[in-house]
């Protein structure tokens, strides 16, 4: 498999850029290999376009845009998320900020198919959905692709018909909450109404199509204010709509909504996929930077509770995919290790154990080459020196297999 990729990589840049480095025999062999490129086209694409002449794809790409069909053969290649799906699931966040900016430059949203995603996909297939929810924890150094893998997983869950409970970044409300107010329902705790309402919007956008199809109704009536009640048996959209409209109660609505989601999937109405990025942020002290630039450490945030609740194993028909990150740690700049036990702490460990840890490793050579080819293709790398073999070798060594580092290094090239 790796050989095939290497071969492809060899074709792509050697034929295009590195004529002078090739010996005559090598050049001949690569020209001879040219017709073989058509074999690299994905099966279903070619079958779909049988009448039209087959579109030749570069070997760092795959035409398979459905993550459900991704397999070992696509390993290290980029697939493109269709624009409409991207607008549905990532409109309110979910892609790392740096990458999201680049999608405008690249005029497409392409993610590399990598091993951690395929592992999760295989494990999800093996899950017995009558058993308690299985938790996966992604870990690895910053910039190695945890969030990208989660984005891939979200796309997979969306295509596979899961109800998505997706938190793009926990510390957006645990560290940098927009607004803060004391909770009425839980004395001594604090609400983050704007963040909660924003999350409800995100949830609604991601699951609109499912909610319309499903017969998902509230199991009991909810009383928020003297005149704000949701009756039992009301469609769940009504609850969401109420939360979005009345931000004051948004935190309580999130809690009730997730409880409803949990019980509904427990009863087998649908399957749920919980995806939370920077999960260890939930166990760090809740902070709020005030106007006076002082950090105030409060008690727990009310919005953290429902996400902690839904990441337990006491329900079925659910998959929980989490990530732990140095950046979500209490002291992000002095985090000593990227391993889960250190980042989760005792509380988090006891909350999650047992779970399936998934290591998001650095790029191997083939993956780095694929990324470089993709950047050259998207004209993110324009410098001829960086496109030469020696330049690529330098970039491979300099980035140390870290995707984010590679992105930064290539930015001025």
């Amino acid at each position: 498999m790796a050989l095939r990729i290497l071969h492809g990589e060899f074709l792509s840049h050697h034929v295009g850029v590195m004529h002078h480095l090739l010996t005559p025999e090598r050049l001949l062999s690569s020209v001879a290999a040219r017709p073989a490129l058509s074999t690299l086209i994905d099966g279903n694409i070619s079958s779909a376009n049988e009448t039209s002449p087959p579109k030749i794809l570069s070997p760092f790409r795959t035409g398979e845009s459905d993550p459900q069909n991704h397999s070992e053969s696509q390993l290290g290649r980029h697939y493109t998320i269709p624009e409409d799906i991207k607008q549905t699931i990532f409109k309110h966040g979910g892609l790392p900020k740096k990458f999201d900016e680049l999608t405008h430059v690249f005029t497409e949203t392409s993610i590399m198919v990598r091993k951690p995603f395929l592992e999760i996909k295989d494990y999800v297939k093996k899950i017995d959905f009558n058993r308690p929810a299985v938790r996966f924890v992604l870990y690895g150094e910053t910039g190695q692709g945890k969030s990208m893998t989660l984005a891939h997983v979200v796309h997979y869950g969306f295509n596979a018909g899961f109800l998505l409970v997706h938190v793009p970044w926990v510390n957006s409300f645990m560290r940098k909450s927009k607004d803060i107010s004391p909770s009425e329902s839980k004395p001594g705790m604090l609400d983050v109404p704007i963040n909660a309402a924003a999350w409800l919007v995100h949830f609604r956008a991601q699951n609109q199509h499912l909610l319309q199809k499903l017969d998902f109704k509230t199991s009991k009536s909810y009383q928020y204010g003297p005149r704000d009640t949701i009756d039992a048996g009301a469609p769940i959209e009504e609850l969401i709509e109420f939360g979005v409209g009345r931000a004051k109660y948004a935190c309580d609505v999130v809690e009730d909504l997730l409880r409803e989601v949990k019980s509904a999937s427990n009863s087998g109405l649908f399957k749920t996929m919980v995806v939370i990025d920077g999960f260890n942020g939930l166990f760090s002290p809740f902070m709020k930077t005030l106007r006076m630039k002082k950090k105030v450490i409060h008690q727990r945030c009310t919005l953290a509770l429902p996400f902690l609740e839904i990441s337990r194993f006491d329900w079925c028909n659910g998959v929980v995919v989490l990530s732990v990150d140095k950046h979500a740690h209490t002291d992000p700049f002095n985090a000593e290790s990227a391993l889960p036990l250190y980042l989760l702490g005792k509380e988090g460990w006891e909350h999650l154990d047992p779970f399936i840890p998934i290591n998001v490793e650095e790029y191997n050579t083939a993956e780095t080459n694929s990324a470089l080819d993709y950047y050259i293709d998207r004209r993110w790398i324009q410098h001829p020196g960086a496109q030469s073999e020696s330049g690529r070798a330098e970039l491979r060594a300099m980035c140390g297999g870290n995707g984010l580092e590679l992105l930064k290094l290539c930015a001025p090239l």
């Binding site: 093996k126 009558n130 427990n266 337990r312 194993f313 079925c316 154990d353 047992p354």
Partner: protein, 345 residues
């Protein structure tokens, strides 16, 4: 003719300066005839000054004679024969550098880098240095020769290191300091260090655990050595006694079992035992879970020993590994075990 006598003259109204001026002028005019012996060979021709310029002689302070107060034994060094000197008797103890007693042209101190350094006489810099003239190699040798008669030979039976360690398990370390300063005392000499290998003292599991908690970082795991350093008393003997007391006290303290030791919680345990911890309870809860138990996460009952399968044991082992120190390998082991336990095979 002095000016003073002029002032006593009947010519009282005349100012003395005026007289002096006239006198000077007269001398100047007549210098050609009788002033030759004052002139040096290389001096220029005389000049006729028609309008003599008034030159006031610069007032010069007379240089005071230098009265150097020389020490009694000034130039004592001259009497020393460099080839045949009994230096130990001349310079028996510590003393400041004395330029007159030491016959070497040593120099120190410069104003500019390329200049020559100042000589040894009255050179403060040389006197600041604590000298070693009393501790020359021959002097040290002589001292050692004198001390030799007080020494005893090392016991021949203790010929190997093992034998030494067996018969003398306790090592006491003290430091003595040798100074060029006038005092023979050093505050650091009071510090006493005792070292002991823990295998040499009888300890059971409880006592060892308790001892570890008492001695904390004074124990070195690599060498199995306990090190106690005492420095709080002013005298070495007191510190030594105190170290002995500490050793005795911690030994007996570690053997006593107090009542409150029974109320040790899981956090106080020295080893992680999986079956006592939440991890095993969580696993039991997952295995016994049914959909009607929604909202009940942990049932507070670990699995009984007989119901534990090999994969559960493997999982417990992996958890123990991680809790006692997480590594990449530990996590891959844990992953294997967790997949075995959680997923359909």
């Amino acid at each position: 003719m002095s000016l003073l006598s002029v002032s006593r003259n009947p010519l009282k109204g005349l100012k003395p300066v005026r007289i002096q001026f006239v006198w000077n002028h007269a001398i100047r005019l007549s210098s050609g005839t009788f002033g030759t012996d004052n002139m040096d060979a290389g001096e220029e021709f005389r000049q006729l000054e028609l309008k003599p310029t008034r030159t006031r002689e610069k007032f010069q302070r007379k240089k005071a004679p230098v009265h150097m107060i020389m020490p009694r034994d000034y130039k004592r060094a001259n009497k020393i024969d460099p080839d045949n000197v009994d230096w130990k008797s001349i310079w028996p103890g510590p003393r400041t550098f004395d330029p007159n007693a030491i016959p070497i042209p040593v120099r120190q101190g410069r104003l500019k880098p390329k200049q020559r350094a100042f000589g040894k006489t009255a050179n403060l810099e040389l006197m600041k240095i604590p000298t070693f003239f009393h501790l020359t190699p021959p002097a040290i040798k002589a001292h050692c020769e004198e001390l030799k008669k007080f020494c005893t030979p090392f016991p021949s039976e203790l010929d190997t290191k093992e034998k030494c360690e067996k018969h003398f398990p306790l090592t006491v370390i003290t430091n003595d300091y040798l100074h060029a300063a006038p005092t023979i005392r050093d505050p650091l000499a009071r510090i006493v260090t005792i070292k002991l290998k823990l295998k040499d003292i009888p300890l059971d599991e409880h006592a060892r655990d308790k001892l570890m908690r008492i001695i904390k970082d004074r124990y070195d795991e690599k060498t199995d050595t306990l090190t106690i350093v005492t420095d709080r008393c002013p005298l070495r003997k007191q510190n030594y006694d105190y170290a002995q007391y500490l050793l005795t006290a911690i030994f007996y303290e570690s053997w006593t079992v107090e009542e409150w030791e029974a109320s040790k919680t899981e956090a106080d345990m020295e080893h992680y035992v999986w079956n006592r911890n939440t991890s095993s309870k969580a696993l039991a809860s997952i295995l016994n879970w049914t959909p009607d138990k929604l909202g009940k996460s942990i049932f507070h009952d670990p699995l009984p020993e007989d119901k534990l399968k090999p994969e559960h044991h493997a999982y417990g082992k992996a958890v123990k590994n991680i809790v006692e120190g997480e590594t990449e390998e530990g996590w891959s082991q844990y992953k294997k075990a967790a997949v075995q336990v959680l997923l359909r095979q």
